[in-house]
Symmetry: D2
Subunit: 340 residues, 4 copies
């Protein structure tokens, strides 16, 4: 049985997901597209797909079993609520929404519907390296994780477009979500420290050191460096009671030459996480085909929103900013982690 | 457009390929199966697939656009010739055939047909690590490869079933094929040396040191150890004029505990090459959909057969056993390597 | 010319330095020893050495050109002042003294004397790995260091003897000193965060996360874990503007077996830093032979004392505790780092 | 007690050993030197040392307890025989002598004397990495070693001075000796294969693949590449019945920059083995002080000579060249290995 998918938003990421859904994955077809730029939607539409005038029409159409949202953040709330109203499974690229209040409205709607319909695009949870790391931590032989060190380095960010708030309200969400998932715990408070500024990014505030205080007491120590020149480098290491577990280097030919014994670093997130994106949709297709959602939930999107907000407050205050979450609905009561 | 595939042989490997073609990959359907054990064929047949009484019927059926051969080696020649007679693309698991003469008959038939139809199952060529290694070598910055060291280690082999000839006429073919591909060269002669025997395998002749003398003068130095207990470990390193290029460790969580700083090793070839198998079929589907074949060819299967034969002669003689290939038909004139 | 050395304190560390000075190093002889336990001093005295009744007599004796202090911390101030009064070079194991006021009195005396006489036992500065790391940072190709991550892990500490203050006023000094040296900068403030407590150490406060705010703006992020079971693991990584420089794994045979591909970890600091201790004394002997001292100075010992005090305040306050140093005397005006 | 040493030959290596004996090590003094160039001997003589007119006078002098031979190879036999006649311990740089016959004459003299006096300069046995590797192999948990792979790469060799025979009769001796020591076994036969020639060395025969067939059946597989441009790279890996043990990378700062994650390679053997040379002499001083020798023996020097000769024959013949050793005198009956 083929899952018929409608894609909202046919910009760069939307086009990439259309490619993935039509050329890489099985059991799925893209039967509808829409975009605020109708010409772009038409150009991106696979053969046989309908170009809808509006997201609302796409969501309601009988040609569409499930929806992928790749529009810009401010449009997400309405589109998600429409999907829930229509009872259709939906994959939503990050950010879920752009305010905690909006997140709560989506949660309320989904809870009222009574079944999970939303999966948020935190692709790291589908990466094989992170899954193996989680399996080691869950295995328990190292004891409880006490400190998790996350490193998030970008070779560069677009000058002008990428502002000083974005390391905290855009980039950090990945480290925050993966920490919640790896440690099976919520973030209770956030602190931010600003090291000496890198001259690589001009006036951009960079790098950042962020501490996420988990409810259970573990501390997550995050370095975010967004103009580090050499590549896209994602590292993670958990210090546990009886040992350490860390992400490996990415596979790359070991070259020995005048520069030493060495392995290349990925250039960007597309190269680093290409397989995770594929796997993310593989699992979504299975769940959406069953009329529901697994993987990162509306609750996870809500948590990410709160962390970004708190981190910005923490920069301003220099203090430890607590995060107060509403009570967790039973709908999301399962462990943070979806079993691999 | 969906490629309709018929699968001959529904044992372990056939079942795994059916799973791959129906659940993992897109643009393909399994529409026919056959097996010498009709009950097993019926059990393995996906919904809607026809169970054919014989390979010949399956090959000729209009329901089948392309064929996957997973039967035992001695049956391959006839099935390949039938596919060529029917003008249908065919993926054939190794070995291509079981004698050099049989390989030449398949080559003759394919050349007479005038277009490549056969892809042989040398999956290493589709592995991302090997492809990156090949790219480094082809890039030329390290100069010409002079020595290639291949290591092929199995945790264990089934006592009784795996005989002393099999390291050379079964296991070695992967190292031989990948060496020809990495170095873009043919194997001109083979030598075998027998180190002290491992007590892990009882009377089994193990390990082996094999030297493949390439036509261009490079030497490939292969270690085959099939009862090494600790895991499945495939390594490769090219010593070039100005530097070294080697396969990386496989990605695995870096655990630091009482056993040191360490990374796990795959248990077997399925775990190690699972993605290579997927990619192998992805590319086959594209080529077969166009009515032809790319990737490892009948010529490569012929070369592998000659190497296995020569290696067995070399054990018996202790000498350097030359390999004489027929002239290469223009049909296979492209470089050994299929561009990644 | 042989340097005649008197050793004060013949406990474990004193005995080890006597071994080093008599059996490993050249150009030096141990001509005098003393200890509060006269019998222990007699037992530890090399052939021909005089056993002195008191440190003061040893320091004043014509048989002693230079002094090594291995007594307990509270005795250091008086012994150091006696050495300075006698104009004799002195190597003093950490801690220099046990209060900031005492450190200032030693500084005043040495400044009044007009020449450096004191070297403090921060052996990491003599470790080849740290020296190479410093050379990379000083080389400048990576730009300015912005974040330095120091990891200090002990397999275990003696229950009862090692108290909850000691990670901060005893263990931390090494990370603090090496950070000042690597970054050529003073520590302006300290923060401490307490992750979830490890059950490995019972009620002991462990692990600690410490942030050292350098005067120039870099932040040093220190993990101290003192009961981590698996070994003694010292790591350091500098995130710079254009790249990363880190200490390597310690050399150890790469074993591949059922536990994976792995390298052993040192058991304790003696194994890890044995060569650094030798080199520390090699350089001390040269300087003391010339009537002076190089390497870590009284100023560095003073700085370490201040950091320990501030870190303990920071645990109590939860806040950022500033460090106010007196003006740096010209005697210590050279860069923090002694050229390798 | 100080060991008074006379040094024969004050060229580059002799000067380096004089530096080591006078500035690095303890318990030793250089009291005599001699050289065919008297002016060079005078310049190299430390303060207080006597410059002797001839090796014979130096050896016989009461000022000299033990001798270090750094003259050229053809002079070694006579000097060694003089040392044995004088009953004085002697450290002899490689080669022990320049023919198997000469080696047997030295063996006969030493056996007649009745006590070991000669240590040969195979410094790898004193390297910490090799010692750890040997300890792992001797520990037995991996089972018997079946294959040992030795890699010996030089960045470059002096054009003109370094001839095509030297990889086999000069460079190979280190791999041969360390293999005998690691595997506790003699070399029974040698084969040499010549891969495609590297253009880095013009007409020089390079690289070489050498197989050393050990008496016990293990095979040592040696790559010698002497113009590989990137650095001095010594690797060793033993494939055992149940696992693998290998030399680690050399410690070097882990730099991550535009060239990837990388570690530098040593430039030459001085940098790689500097500590091994020191340790070699430390142990020699202890043994010579006791009037004898430990470490690599005359027997080991004899074995090395035979391997070099056999390897040259093997290049000429293309065949497996056996090595016939005389019966091993009881004087050398101890295991090849000197306990670490």
């Amino acid at each position: 049985m083929t899952l018929n998918v409608g894609v909202i938003g046919t910009g760069m990421i939307g086009q990439d997901h259309i490619r993935r859904l039509t050329q890489v994955l099985s059991g799925v077809a893209v039967t509808g597209v829409t975009d605020i730029d109708a010409a772009r939607a038409t150009a991106a539409a696979p053969k046989g797909a309908t170009v809808f005038a509006t997201p609302a029409e796409l969501i309601r159409s009988d040609k569409v079993d499930a929806v992928v949202i790749c529009s810009w953040g401010p449009a997400h709330e309405e589109q998600l609520l429409d999907c829930i109203a229509a009872g259709k499974p939906v994959f939503c690229e990050k950010p879920l929404v752009t305010s905690a209040e909006a997140a709560l409205r989506v949660i309320d709607a989904e809870v009222a519907f009574g079944r999970r319909l939303v999966q948020v695009g935190f692709m790291r949870r589908f990466d094989a390296d992170y899954r193996r790391l989680k399996a080691v931590l869950d295995g328990g032989t190292l004891g409880a994780p006490l400190i998790y060190k996350s490193v998030h380095r970008n070779a560069s960010v677009p000058a002008g477009l990428y502002t000083s708030d974005m390391p905290l309200n855009d980039t950090l969400v990945h480290d925050a979500d993966i920490s919640r998932w790896l440690l099976d715990d919520e973030i209770a408070a956030v602190e931010v420290r600003l090291p000496r500024r890198s001259r690589q990014g001009g006036e951009l505030r960079d790098p950042h050191l962020v501490m996420l205080h988990m409810a259970g007491g573990a501390i997550v120590d995050v370095e975010i460096s967004v103009n580090i020149a050499y590549g896209y480098d994602i590292r993670g290491e958990a210090s546990c009671e009886k040992g350490i577990a860390a992400l490996p280097n990415r596979p790359a030919t070991v070259v020995t030459d005048a520069h030493g014994i060495r392995q290349a670093i990925p250039e960007d997130w597309r190269e680093r996480f290409i397989e995770a994106y594929d796997q993310e949709f593989r699992e979504w297709i299975v769940a959406a085909g069953a009329g529901t959602a697994t993987g990162p939930s509306t609750w996870d999107g809500y948590a990410a929103t709160l962390v970004g907000d708190a981190a910005l407050r923490a920069v301003a205050s220099g203090a430890r900013e607590p995060i107060a979450m509403r009570d967790k609905p039973a709908l999301y009561a399962a462990p943070v982690r979806k079993a691999a």
